[in-house]
Every structure is written in structure tokens, then in C-alpha cells.
């Protein structure tokens, strides 16, 4: 039998060709976003020449209505979108994991209170909540991160709680208690590592959803504020029918980037689910 640990997971992941390609594409896009200041030919907020001109050698994806280079803006837009997605995922995962752990392990009234609160957040008309929050707080990159982070966690909390509920009945948890291990140790060093796999998979879907939500909010003008580019507010130009039909370079790049990002993240998440499934270890 092969040794357990990290390598078999990688091997199982590599069995999904599409996911490997997706991961590759994703890494390239992330690299381009991170290295935007080095790659971008122009500053994202400065006019460079003609307004709303199609792709030329100088501006490979054309220029927007204010004369800014679309390619440069796209690179910086990916930066803000990925940052929003990543940070929102980190925040909501942290909230969800902690609440789920506590709720599942301690049970009783603690569980009831936390789960009612979770259901409340979950059943609230989501986009409305975000819109109201965005209207109350000053819209901007960090406020949208916080808003999405504090709204996306209920799914994670429920997932972790469900896992903990079944794990706390297992004998290794009972054995730990029989061995006099403290609760903190049992919760964080025994139960938590067993829920890492589903948490990771769920996090990828939160990542994808956050990017979509950011795009939606910014498109509606409640998210990242111009002139700072984001994939959402770059789509803003598509509101007009003439642009939509005659000037595709203004909205196509941002739109395609969103689709590619979200698809790749979801494919990677799916492959991760298979790769981390302990039932696959026996094969």
C-alpha cells in the first residue's frame, strides 16, 4: 500500500485533466493580477489616447469611454476581484468554521442559538442585505470584502456543524475523553483536522460566488468604486445597447474573465472534493 498523506491527494487530483488545466489557467491569471504593475502597459486610471477605440497594436484590447487602456484596467480589475473573493472567503470560512465547531460540539442551547442565527442570515434575501449594507457603509473595496465575508458563512457553519456532530460520536473522540484530553485539544486538534477537506472544498465555491457577487454589486454601483477598476464595474459600460452591439471590447474582456475565473475555481473545487475524499484512499 502506498504511504498516506499529501502525495496520493496530488495524484488523485491529477486524474482530473480539466481541473489540472483549470488550476494552470487560474495560476496564470493570479500571477497576471499580482504582477499587474509590471505587466500593464499603461496606468489603469489615466487616459491614453482616443476614446472608445477598438483594439490596436498600442491598446491591445482597445480603450474605454474615457480613453483608458482596457487591457491594463483588466489586469488591475482582476486584482481587486481576486482580492475581494479571497478575503471574503477567508473571513466567512473563519466565522463559519468556528461557529460550526462550537455549535456542533457543545450542542444544547448554544447550538440552538447559533443555528437559529445561521438560519436567519441564510434566509435573509441575500442581495438585498448586501445592497442595504453597501448603502449604509461607504461603498469601496474593503467594505465589500467585509459585507461578503459576513454574509457568506452560513453554508460553511452548517457544513462544519454536521461534520462535528458525526465526529463527536466517534470512538476516537470518546477515547480522547477517556484519556482526559482537554476539550480545546479535542475540538481543534482532533475534530478540526477531520473537517479540513470539506471546508476546503466549500471554500472554493465561496471564492467563486464571492467573485460573482462582487461583479454584481460593482455593476450595480454599490461595490468597488470607479476609477478603481473591478471586473464588475468594467461591465458597467454594457448598460447601453449601442456599446453592447457595436463595441464588444468594452465589456467582453471583463465578462470572459469572470466566466473563466469562476469556471476554473469551480472545476478545481470539484477535483479537490474527489482528491480529498478519504473513501478514495483505498483505491
Amino acid at each position: 500500500m502506498q504511504s498516506s498523506g499529501f502525495m496520493p491527494v496530488v495524484r488523485r487530483f491529477c486524474r482530473h485533466r480539466l481541473a489540472v488545466v483549470s488550476l494552470f489557467v487560474l495560476l496564470i491569471l493570479i500571477f497576471m493580477a499580482v504582477a499587474a504593475p509590471l505587466i500593464a502597459p499603461f496606468a489603469p486610471t489615466k487616459p491614453t489616447g482616443a476614446f472608445s477605440k477598438g483594439p490596436t497594436l498600442k491598446n491591445i484590447l482597445g480603450t474605454d469611454q474615457v480613453g483608458r487602456d482596457v487591457f491594463s484596467r483588466l489586469l488591475y480589475a482582476m486584482r481587486s476581484s481576486l482580492l475581494v473573493g479571497f478575503m471574503a472567503t477567508v473571513i466567512s470560512s473563519a466565522i463559519g468554521v468556528v461557529l460550526g465547531l462550537v455549535s456542533g460540539y457543545f450542542g444544547g442551547w448554544i447550538d440552538k442559538v447559533i443555528m437559529s442565527f445561521t438560519d436567519m442570515v441564510m434566509s435573509f434575501p441575500y442581495i438585498l442585505l448586501v445592497l442595504v449594507a453597501a448603502a449604509i457603509f461607504e461603498p469601496g473595496l474593503w467594505s465589500i470584502i467585509l459585507i461578503l465575508g459576513f454574509v457568506d458563512w452560513p453554508g460553511m457553519a452548517r457544513l462544519v456543524r454536521g461534520n462535528v456532530l458525526s465526529l463527536r460520536e466517534t470512538n476516537f473522540v470518546k477515547s480522547d475523553r477517556a484519556a482526559g484530553m482537554p476539550r480545546r485539544y479535542i475540538l481543534f486538534s482532533e475534530i478540526l483536522p477531520n473537517t479540513i477537506a470539506p471546508v476546503l472544498v466549500n471554500a472554493t465555491s465561496i471564492f467563486a460566488i464571492s467573485i460573482l457577487d462582487e461583479a454584481a454589486l460593482s455593476y450595480l454601483g454599490m461595490g468597488v468604486q470607479p476609477p478603481t477598476p473591478s471586473l464588475g464595474n468594467m461591465l458597467g459600460g454594457a448598460e447601453s445597447l449601442t456599446i453592447l452591439t457595436t463595441k464588444p471590447w468594452l465589456w467582453l474582456p471583463a465578462g470572459v474573465t469572470i466566466i473563466v475565473l469562476v469556471t476554473c475555481i469551480n472545476l478545481v473545487g470539484d477535483a479537490l472534493r474527489d482528491a480529498l475524499d478519504p473513501r478514495n484512499t483505498l483505491r
Binding site: M1, F172, K174, S175, R177, G180, Y185, P193, N194, L282
Partner: protein
């Protein structure tokens, strides 16, 4: 000598909705240092919850409603969870039946084994590892160094149970509670594990409370036997007396339902008619009466009393049963 464990009049009840349903009725027994006591009975008669309650490990619905549990003279029922944590693992510990999930699947054996040792014995990493390897060797694992690096799913059932025992023994407990430790294993491994437990007892002088429904295991292992039926102790005696002349009809029936190697071929294997009633808390008088071949129509109310020195029975007709 002062007993290691003394359980007296223990009542455990389980919550069902708003009502409490009693599951044990004044269970009493004690274990001397170095003694192996078997707790015997059918499924659902209260053996496991009795054992779990000793370490305060009853599930959320269960609670102790009366009686006392004294471990080396200290009352466990009055202790806080924190105080119990000091006792658990060091003075008394427990191993379980299900070997599949008795070890954490995401950590290596070595990792899990050293964790407990380091906590209770305050050893550094290297010393804890050394002790862990020695323990694994002692439990009869051939490649102890290699097993330290393995994950639970890479071990066989017998190996896993050995690793479990090593873990339980890591801090030299004075009482080991084993809840059907070999039920999930095949017969040869079962024998090896039992022999291991007994030799560990001889070596360390720890007391063992062994829960089983297997009379064969009882004959093999026990110094003394406590038979439970429907939440009550029905008979207690040293193993020779119990096997030679059982005085309670239930004990007798249990023994008759084991096939013997030199049985007459024509002997029909005895089965006890019916099963343990699901809710026996409201039953008046003898709880075994509905299934008992000796039951009288009057419906007696037997008390748990000594038949002679060291032999307790809960049956009005114990004397007749013993000689009939």
C-alpha cells in the same frame, strides 16, 4: 484491601423527550486491585452505560440519578469535568468495541500515541516517542517503528486494537475498562488480544473491567463475574463458582446457549425465549420472570442477596436452580 473501583446502587436514566427513563436499577459491584471482573449480559441490559458512567462519558441524554462511584476512595460523581480529566487516562481509562473509528484517521499512530503520553507524563518529544515505541512493542506489534509512521487505515483490525491498547496503557492506568474489545475481531486475534490484556494485568497490576457477552471470554479471563439483566445485577460470584454452579436462571440459560466441544450431537442448542424488554423500568418483581423456565405463577419479588459468602444472587429459587 481497599477496592480500586466501588460502584454502589448506581441508577442511570436516559432522557426521552421530557421524561427520564431509568436504565439501571441499583447496580453494585467492586473491583480489587489487579482483578479482572467481567460484566456479562445480553445487548441492551445496561453493561455499557454502567461502564461509560464510571468515567463520566455518558452521552448527552444519559445521566446518573443516584448511587455512588468511588475510584480509589474518591467519589467520582461529585467531581467537576476538570477534575475528571485529571483522573481519566491516568487513573482509569477505557477502550472501545469499534476499532474502525477508535483512532483518528488523519493522524499517524505515533502522533496520536505521543500526544497522550506528553500530556499526562510531561515528557519531551523524544522521550515520549521512545515510550510509545516501547508500548507498541509490548502489545506485540512487530514493526513498532514502522507502525508509528502509519495511518490507522493502513493497519489491520488486530493491529489497530493493539495500538488502542498501547494508547490506553500509555500512562499506566490503575483501572482499564474494556467495552467488548474483541467483538469486531476474528477468533484467533480475539484470543491474542485477551492474552495480551491478561499478561499486561499480571505485569502492571492494573485492574480490568471487561464487558462482554461471550461466556467463552469470561471463562478465559475473569477472576470474578457480574451478570446483568435488564438494568439489574442478577448474580455475582468468582468465576469458578459461577461456571460450576450458576444460581440464577439467567446465568444458567446464558451458559446453556453456548455450544460445547464435547456436546452430544443430538443436543439441541438452548436458546432463551424472547428478548430483553425494551423498556424494563416499570417492571415489577423479577424482571427475568417472563423468559424464565423456573418462574412461579405467583410473581416473586427477589432481592439481591448473598447465597453464601461472595456469591450474590437475585432469585427466590436460587438454591433449587443451582442444584436442578
Amino acid at each position: 484491601m481497599e477496592p480500586i473501583l466501588e460502584v454502589r446502587d448506581l441508577d442511570i436514566a436516559f432522557e426521552s423527550g421530557k421524561t427520564l427513563i431509568p436504565r439501571t436499577d441499583k447496580v453494585s459491584f467492586s473491583i480489587q486491585p489487579g482483578e479482572i471482573v467481567c460484566l456479562v449480559g445480553e445487548s441492551g441490559c445496561g453493561k455499557s452505560i454502567t461502564a461509560l458512567s464510571v468515567l463520566g462519558l455518558l452521552s448527552r441524554q444519559g445521566r446518573v440519578t443516584g448511587g455512588s462511584i468511588r475510584l480509589m476512595g474518591r467519589e467520582l460523581l461529585d467531581m467537576t469535568e476538570k477534575q475528571l480529566d485529571e483522573i481519566r487516562g491516568r487513573d482509569a481509562t477505557m477502550i472501545f468495541q469499534d476499532i474502525m473509528y477508535s483512532l483518528n484517521p488523519v493522524f499517524t499512530i505515533g502522533n496520536q500515541l505521543t500526544e497522550g503520553i506528553r500530556r499526562h507524563m510531561r515528557l519531551d518529544k523524544a522521550a515520549a516517542r521512545e515510550r510509545a515505541v516501547a508500548l507498541l512493542k509490548r502489545t506485540g506489534i512487530p514493526d513498532a517503528q514502522g507502525v508509528m509512521r502509519k495511518y490507522p487505515h493502513q493497519l489491520s483490525g488486530g493491529m489497530r486494537q493493539r495500538a488502542m491498547i498501547a494508547m490506553a496503557l500509555s500512562c499506566r492506568p490503575k483501572l482499564l475498562i474494556a467495552d467488548e474489545p474483541t467483538t469486531a475481531l476474528d477468533v484467533t486475534i480475539q484470543l491474542q488480544i485477551m492474552e495480551l490484556l491478561r499478561s499486561l494485568r499480571d505485569e502492571t497490576g492494573m485492574a480490568v473491567l471487561l464487558i462482554t457477552h461471550d461466556i467463552g471470554v469470561v471463562a478465559e479471563m475473569a477472576d470474578r463475574v457480574v451478570v446483568m439483566y435488564a438494568g439489574q445485577c442478577v448474580e455475582e460470584a468468582d468465576v469458578r463458582t459461577l461456571l460450576a454452579s450458576p444460581a440464577h436462571p439467567y446465568t444458567r440459560a446464558l451458559m446453556q446457549s453456548v455450544p460445547g466441544i464435547d456436546d452430544d450431537r443430538s443436543r439441541r442448542l438452548y436458546t432463551i425465549p424472547g428478548s430483553v424488554p425494551e423498556d424494563y423500568s416499570h417492571m415489577e418483581g423479577c424482571r427475568f420472570a417472563p423468559r424464565c423456565p423456573h418462574a412461579q405463577s405467583c410473581g416473586c419479588r427477589p432481592e439481591y442477596k448473598p447465597l453464601r459468602e461472595g456469591h450474590l444472587v437475585r432469585c427466590e429459587r436460587a438454591g433449587e436452580v443451582q442444584h436442578g
